[in-house]
């Protein structure tokens, strides 16, 4: 049965190699921690020894770098050979860990992309709102234009009083108190505004050859206009310098 014996030898060889390898691996951590020959030994006077070619300048950095690099490499090499990593890579757990890591990387990328997309969406919304805001501001400006305000005032029955119908009063000491009392008593309400009895003079009459008489504005009856103008205004004693008709 030479073929069977050969097959057994072939099958046994990897097993032996594995045993040897395991033995070697068990020893390595100790070797890894071992200090290099000569390293760390100091003479009694505390000075480092070592042969250095004469004439070469001594730089502390030049000596320090290889030591650091060597130790770092040793430490990382140690991780790869640690029993935990070895056990993990020999078991099925490794597949799971690798899978989780891969999924994690993909998830992280997807998450970053979705964050970008959502921030872009917010930026787009911000732009849209800014544009809408500018359009609304323009609309507000148009609504508050002189023409619109005059039309609204005319609808409310407000008119521009005749210059002669206006007089200014000096405020008395107790004027504010009287005004406050009358306001609290409900004496001044919007209901007191008289309805418009004449066309509002917002659009002044065209200038004609006729002389500009004091009464030539669009007020049909000065008495009525005066009454209209004075209706919402406080009486003289309470105005404190307000505008009233005589």
């Amino acid at each position: 049965m030479p073929a069977t014996a050969a097959a057994r030898r072939v099958a046994a060889a990897p097993a032996r190699r594995a045993t040897a390898s395991r033995a070697t691996l068990k020893k390595r951590p100790t070797q890894g921690r071992r200090k290099p020959a000569g390293a760390g030994r100091r003479p009694p006077n505390g000075r480092a020894t070592g042969s250095r070619p004469r004439g070469r300048p001594h730089t502390p950095v030049a000596g320090f770098v290889p030591v650091v690099v060597g130790r770092t490499a040793g430490a990382f090499g140690g991780i790869a050979d640690s029993s935990l990593v070895v056990r993990m890579t020999r078991g099925r757990l490794w597949i799971g860990v690798l899978g989780v890591l891969l999924v994690g990387i993909v998830a992280l990328n997807v998450w970053a992309l979705s964050l970008n997309a959502s921030s872009s969406k917010v930026a787009r919304q911000t732009d849209g709102l800014k544009r809408a805001n500018s359009a609304l501001q323009a609309q507000i400006a148009a609504e508050l234009s002189n023409e619109e305000v005059q039309a609204a005032a005319a609808k409310l029955g407000l008119i521009v009083p005749e210059p002669g119908a206006i007089r200014y009063l000096e405020g008395k000491r107790n004027a504010a108190a009287i005004a406050a009392r009358r306001l609290a008593g409900g004496e001044f309400t919007l209901g007191e505004v008289a309805p418009a009895v004449v066309e509002p003079p917002a659009v002044p009459a065209a200038v004609t050859d006729a002389p500009t008489a004091p009464e030539d504005a669009a007020v049909a009856d000065p008495a009525q206009a005066t009454a209209t103008a004075t209706a919402p205004v406080a009486p003289p004693a309470a105005t404190g310098g307000g505008v009233v008709a005589p």
């Binding site: 992309l113 970008n116 997309a117 921030s119 872009s120 969406k121 930026a123 787009r124 800014k130 544009r131 809408a132 500018s134 359009a135 501001q137 323009a138 400006a141 148009a142 508050l144 234009s145 002189n146 023409e147 005059q150 521009v160 009083p161 005749e162 210059p163 002669g164 119908a165 206006i166 007089r167 200014y168 659009v203 002044p204 009459a205 065209a206 200038v207 004609t208 050859d209 002389p211 500009t212 008489a213 004091p214 504005a217 505008v243």
Partner: protein, 555 residues
């Protein structure tokens, strides 16, 4: 070598070959064609968009918006990408309310890879176009100028072009302040065109605001009055200036005919012109106040100084007569002004003398720009004494033989009204949140002579004066009428006139000055009947509106 090892070797060789192919392909794509493909990818995935920086607003003195910027969009086409142009044109025409034939012409343009379809459309319209999802049709962010008050103060505000650059008026002269800076934004898209990232490369900055001395309500009133005047007298043009004489701040500056600032291309040069600063005319009798001011300052006359005046006066080869024939009379200086006597004013001017007369009119700022912060100001024409002919002193004292601008007249009368100090007129109150400089000022006549002049000018609106029919109940008014013949082909015309009036109120403590100049009114042409009533209408609104009391108190 066993079969297994051969198979493993073959597999290794295949993998090595595949790796070599991949490496070679990668080297080809990244190394040889790398830059080309990168550029292609960037053009497909990364879009750089210009974000317009909107212009600053123009506000009136109370913060009312006269010009604002609004976000808009420009619709463009890439003709060779448009599929089925007739259908696309029909759809676009419906969305844009435009002519489909014109649009089809644009979309089928053979020589262009880019065509503007519609510029500065509002956002809802742009959204409608976007929703059509037409191949080869795109939108660009833009901004447009809106004038919420319509044609109000259009010549002062000016206009902007399609690229948002100021073309006329303050929009042009204050371009540096108003103009915004455009920004840039990078948009990264995935293969399906979905937006992934939006990065700001350079932020857009809005322009600064400009606040004017103009009061929108007064401006509207002045324009209404001019429109009414135009309806009655159908003049070639007219301008009204409302000013605070204490500091020469322009409260209203109205022009007729008006122009639509949002459509400067549709306006004539006359409509776009600001006549207050760009129109020169012979002032006529309104200039007599400066003749008398010079005589008062020289100490030659007082308001009561009497002059025996013949019906006409001859200066060199020219005979000067009154507007209405009369016999010989004796008039005081005050009466000369009130009745606007040509013979009297020439007599007073001759008393002053050419050299000193020239000194005084230049003191009031005639012959040089006032320095108002508005572009394109004319300076008028005032001859040097060395250029005078024998009859020049027969013309100048009555406002002939020289030309001035309405703003020069308003500034000169402001000096008379405010106690003798000539201020530089201004229309800008604040720029970029900083108060604009008050401008230069200098005393030109004494406070006492200023008061005398004011008193004499009251007589013009008193019974017997040339504008006696104008009054504002409760207020004292002062001013001067002017009716000047226009020079046509080198001679004074008998049919073309400039009617004007400059007045202020209250006469004892002026806080409001109104100047009205009407170019070639039809039917009537006297300053007292054409321009003075317009002054009265404006003052009637402005005095109570500004809270000016009849006695000069208030505000």
């Amino acid at each position: 070598m066993s079969l297994l090892e051969r198979r493993i070797g073959l597999l290794f060789a295949l993998f090595a070959l595949a790796l070599c192919v991949v490496v070679a392909r990668a080297s080809w794509l990244q190394g040889v064609r790398g830059s080309e493909l990168r550029a292609d990818a960037q053009s497909q995935q990364i879009e750089t968009v210009v974000v317009p920086g909107s212009r600053g607003a123009i506000l009136d003195r109370n913060g009312t918006e006269l010009a604002v910027s609004e976000d808009a969009a420009t619709i463009f086409a890439t003709p060779y990408q448009v599929e089925d142009p007739p259908r696309a044109a029909a759809k676009l025409a419906k969305a844009l309310d435009a002519d489909p034939d014109e649009l089809l012409e644009l979309l089928t343009s053979p020589d262009s890879g880019f065509q503007y379809v519609a510029r500065k459309v509002d956002l809802p319209t742009a959204e409608r176009v976007r929703k059509l999802r037409l191949a080869g049709i795109g939108t660009l962010a833009d901004s447009r100028r809106i004038y919420p008050q319509g044609e109000l103060a259009s010549q002062v505000i000016g206009s902007v072009g399609v690229d948002n650059n100021g073309l006329t008026g303050l929009e042009a002269s204050r371009e540096e302040t108003l103009h915004g800076t455009a920004g840039e934004r990078e948009i990264v898209r995935d293969a399906l065109g979905k937006e992934l990232e939006r990065n700001t490369l350079a932020s857009a900055n809005a322009g600064s605001d400009l606040r004017l001395t103009i009061d929108a309500s007064l401006q509207a009133q002045a324009e209404e009055v001019l429109a009414g005047l135009a309806e009655t007298y159908d003049p070639k043009g007219a301008t009204a200036i409302v000013m605070d004489p204490r500091n020469a701040e322009v409260l209203a500056l109205a022009n007729h005919p008006a122009a639509d600032p949002s459509d400067p291309g549709g306006a004539t040069p006359e409509e776009l012109a600001n006549r207050a600063t760009g129109y020169t005319y012979e002032p006529g009798s309104t200039f007599k106040a400066f003749t008398v001011a010079g005589a008062l300052e020289e100490g030659i006359v007082t308001p009561e100084t009497p002059f025996s005046l013949p019906p006409t006066i001859q200066v060199a080869d020219r005979v000067i007569e009154e507007s209405h024939p009369r016999g010989p009379v004796t008039l005081s200086v005050a009466e000369i002004l009130a009745q606007s006597s040509n013979v009297g004013a020439v007599t007073v001017g001759l008393e002053v003398g050419a050299k000193r007369f020239d000194h005084w009119i230049r003191e009031f700022g005639f012959g040089s720009p006032t320095g108002i912060d508005f572009p394109g100001e004319e300076q008028g024409i005032v001859l040097r004494p060395s250029e005078y002919s024998g009859s020049t002193m027969g013309n100048l004292p009555i406002g002939q033989g020289l030309s001035v601008t309405p703003i020069q007249m308003a500034a000169g009368y402001s000096a008379i009204a405010n106690g003798g100090v000539l201020h530089t007129p201004r229309v800008v109150l604040e720029e970029d949140g900083q108060a604009a400089g008050a401008g230069d000022r200098r005393r030109v006549i004494s406070r006492r002579n200023s008061a005398k002049l004011r008193e004499m000018l009251r007589g013009v609106l008193a019974p017997g004066g040339t504008a006696s029919e104008v009054s504002v109940p409760g207020y004292t008014l002062a001013g001067k009428t002017g009716t000047a013949q226009k020079v046509v082909d080198g001679v004074y015309s008998d049919s073309q006139f400039v009617a004007s009036f400059v007045g202020f109120a209250p006469a004892e403590d002026p806080q409001l000055l109104v100047s009205v100049v009407v170019d070639e009114p039809q039917g009537d042409y006297y300053g007292g009947t054409v321009a003075a009533p317009a002054f009265g209408e404006i003052a009637k609104f402005a005095l109570p509106y500004l809270g000016i009391e009849a006695g000069g108190r208030g505000r």
